[in-house]
Structures are given as C-alpha cells and as structure tokens.
Symmetry: C2
C-alpha cells in the first residue's frame, strides 16, 4: 500500500472514529455535567494529587477557565482543594465522597455506552477489537519522548524519599519503607531502585527486588510517576529498564501487585504483557496480582498462547 493511500486510510479512520465518539458524547450530555467537567472529574479521580496546572496540561485548556470550573465543582462539593505542603501555591485536587459517587455513576454510564457499541459483536470479535486497538495504541505510543532519562540509583537521596512519600500518600500505602530498607535494595546487586528524570527533575521511581520464596522471580514495587509527568511514557521507560536489568540477571518472571481501582496502571501493565496470576504475597491492600514472563520464549510457544 502506497504512502498516500496509507495516509488517506488513516484520515478516513479518524473521521470515522470521531463520528463514533461524537455519538457517544451526544448522549452523555444528560444534564448535570458538561463534557469538560466530566473529563476533569475523571482526571482527578484517576490521578491522585493532581493540580490545576496538571489539568491544564492534560486537557489542553486555558488556566482561567480551569480555575472557574474547579471553583464551580468545589462549590458543588464534588471536588476538594488542599493547599500543597511542598509548594503552597498549588492545590492538590481530590474528589469528595459525593464526587466519587457521581464519578462512579458517570463511569457506569460510559461503560454502558461502550457495551451498546459492542452490541452485535460476539466474543471472538470483541477480542479482536480490543487486540487491534492495543496494536494501534502501542504503535502510536512507540515514539518515546527522549527527554525522559532512567537511572539505577547507587545511593539513596532525599529526592527519592520525598517522591516515595508522595507515592504513599497518593496510593494510601500503609506499610512504608524505612530509609534503611531502601538502602538495602539499592545496595543489593540483584535488586535496585530506578528513577526517571524529565529535564533533570525527578518524576518517577520503581523498585525491583527478588522474592526469596520464588526462585527465578523478581518483583516490581513502588512504581510511581508524578501526575505532572504522566502520559509521556515515563512508566514504560522505567519498566523497560527494569525488564532489561532482570533479563540480564537471569530472572525469568517479573511479578507485581496492585489495587483493582488503579485501573489506568493495570491497563498499562496489561498492554505490556503482564497477565493475572495467583496471589503471591500477603499484602492485604493488594487485590490484583500480575506476572510477566521475560525469558526469551521460543516462537512456537508464543504462537500457542
């Protein structure tokens, strides 16, 4: 297929898909929230510790407009704004209980629309649809922003501890690592702490440490990316680095756990080839357990899957 034909096909698909999305949105318009308010609620729901200026970046809207919309949502008791301790100019956004409830309703509604869209597709066709969307997405995401730098720490810095602190608060982690335990991981040649920097500033981190009870397995923990740096492939870059390291050390599988409400994160893991597995630890907060084979698999075995 020639280049011009490809470009035509893509434009044509874009028109087609825009029309389809438009249909979904038209019906979404049942009163209470404008489309943009809905997107804002979603982003706040999905990204703990989001700020107004993060929203500006994600939604691509004017700061003044966002300010007003946030003020309105706050007055309606759906959103809370807490002055950040680290930087008292910014307000950390979160949903109130009422906001969570509305969001759940919106999500249900939206899911129902997708369900309607899938009406008339059988199981096999749905699988194919999801798989094709996955291919499209991974191809279009491939171009990593080269400003993201990944580094395996050789010593524990205050910056990392601050970032971890942020992670604990964002995700609501109960059992926190002590600086000593972090240092232990840093010093372990079969484990490590990776950090991601964007334009020189630290924006993300993740551990890798082996699971003594499971030979050949290593676990990824504390994977976190600051809200302001989301959508730039930072998590992917961190996982890439960890997978390369784990392969180099001869590990066969990477495990990780998560919470079922962290759907964006779980979606990301799944796109990278992580699949559900049995509970492998006794972390009471974890409800989702995922595993990825990283050993080179013979092609025949791959085909079979």
């Amino acid at each position: 297929m020639s280049g011009a034909t490809q470009i035509f096909a893509i434009r044509d698909f874009n028109r087609f898909y825009t029309a389809r999305l438009g249909l979904l949105r038209k019906r979404h318009l049942d009163g209470e929230f404008s489309l943009t308010e809905g997107r804002m609620l979603y982003e706040i729901w999905a990204n703990p510790r989001l700020t107004a200026s993060n929203l500006r970046g994600v939604l691509g809207l004017d700061a003044g407009y966002i300010s007003r919309l946030l003020a309105s949502l706050t007055k309606r008791k759906l959103v809370r704004q807490a002055v950040s301790k680290a930087d008292s100019r910014e307000r950390l956004l979160s949903l109130t209980q009422a906001g969570e409830k509305k969001m759940a309703a919106l999500n249900r509604q939206s899911e129902q629309q997708i369900e309607e869209l899938l009406q008339g597709l059988n199981g096999e066709e749905r699988e194919r649809l999801v798989a094709s969307l996955g291919v499209v997405r991974s191809l279009l995401t491939a171009q990593k922003s080269s400003e993201v730098q990944i580094e395996r720490l050789s010593e524990v810095t205050g910056e990392v501890l601050d970032l971890l602190q942020e992670y604990y608060e964002a995700v609501g982690v109960m059992v926190r690592d002590t600086p000593e335990s972090v240092r232990e991981i840093v010093d372990d040649p079969d484990a490590g702490v990776w950090i991601a920097t964007l334009n020189g500033k630290i924006v993300g981190c993740a551990y890798l440490h082996s699971l003594p009870s499971m030979p050949g397995a290593t676990e990824c923990k504390r994977l976190y990316v600051r809200p302001s740096a989301r959508g730039k492939g930072v998590a992917h870059a961190l996982l890439d680095a960890q997978e390369a390291f784990a392969k180099g050390r001869g590990f066969k599988r990477i495990y990780l756990d998560s919470k079922d409400d962290l759907r964006v994160a779980i979606g990301l893991y799944q796109r990278r080839g992580f699949v559900a597995c049995e509970r492998y630890n006794d972390n009471p907060q974890a409800t989702v357990f995922l595993m990825k084979e990283i050993a080179e698999t013979p092609k025949k075995a791959l085909r079979r899957s």
Copy 2:
C-alpha cells in the same frame, strides 16, 4: 479477557485517541478556518450535490448555525449554492475554484500532520497500523442498519433513470447510458441493475455486467449513493448483493474503475478487498482500476498474499 476489562481497554483507548486527535486539531487551528468550517468544506468537497440539510445530518449541527456558516463561506467565494431543479427549496452545494484550492491546501496540511504522526514508524509498522485500523473499523461498522433494502431490478423505472441522471451530474460522466442500454442490462440474466431503498425511497444503485473480452470477470458500474443516505452502509449492501450474485453465476473476479479524486469511494473498495490492477478498458475518465477475487480461495493462497 473479561468483559469489564475489555470495556476499560476500549474507554482507555478512546481517551488516548481523543488526545491524539486533539493534538492534530490544535495545530490545524492556524487561522483561516474553524474546525467546523473545515469539516464543512471537506464534506462539500467529498460529496457532490450535498445540501445544507445533509450537512446537518453528517455534522450533527443546528440548521441555523449551518445556514450562517454556509452564508459566510459563500460570501468568501469558497462555496457555491445552486437551487436544485428537482426541489427548489434546496440548494446544491459545491466548492468554487478558490474553494477547491483552499481545500487542497487543507488536505495537504492534514496529510502532513499524519505524516508527522507516522514519523518513527517503519514501513512494516505502518502497514500494521493501517491494517489494525481497518479491523477496528470493519468490526464497528458491522452492524448494518436494517432499513436498507437491496433489490435487483426486473424493469427500468423512472426513479432509476433520475438517480442515474443525478449520478452523471455528480461525477461528471461524459458517456451516458440510454434507457435502452439500461434495459438490456436489466434483461441480461448474467448482469443486472441493483437499487437500494431506505424507508421505501430509492437512495442508491449499481450495475453489474460481464466483460466479453475477459472470461470469468464481471464489472461493477454506476455505483452511486445519494448524499443524504451516505454513511449507512448502503454502498456496502449494494456490493454485498452484487458479489453474492456474481459468485452464484460463477464469476471469479469483479472489476471496476474510478477516478483518483473519488478517494472516499476508493477507500471503501479497498476496505472490501479490492486491489489495484491494470487498466482493463479505454474509458478516458477512469484513472483507477480495481479488482477483487470472489472465488473461494484456498487458505494457503490467502496466507501467501
């Protein structure tokens, strides 16, 4: 993959793709035309004999707003409005020469953006992208609107001749069929004229007639769908009926020709499996020649392609 996970994946993709499209549009915003004006120009360009109320349907906008935008584009000498002979309430829209020129510029710009989007994908990846988009589209288009009825004519009616007249004018056909020649096709057991009706009204037609010089081959001609009925799968339904007929009569291949500026139509043919072939007639207006194998092909042969 569970149903809930699938739905999540689709919603997630929609957000991702919306963001990508948003980026494209932001940059499109360089002055002269609003997004909606651009879409209007595109539709007028792509659909001869479009009317304001067709646009209402396609773009999903208020009639008053469309009226105003059209008035503006007309004042700017980009669009022409001709009172329809058949119904003097409606105005047939077309681009002026200046409008065509602007449209060409817009298309170039848009193509360049897609080209940028593809930056960093190699040839094989691009093929995969286009193929996946095709799968998505065909899956989501599968649900045909059941109101479309297809019928193989047993006699020539005035309605069909009117529709053909419309086709000639829309596409700018030089050599027109006489009523006698149409009747000949209708009466030929190995050929035929198909019409599509939507809620009882005729909205589309197409011929099929054999090519004496090419045994096993039949040609599709005069495939036309009224602008007001586009996007409802009418053309697909007509082609489905023709392909079934052709298979039943033992034909192995369907040919058709087109003009390279009828890109929407050509895109549709390609999605159905038509591939470029050599010029097979001496129609001076045709610049694109397509062919589809309709005989059941052994799977091995399919794989190889």
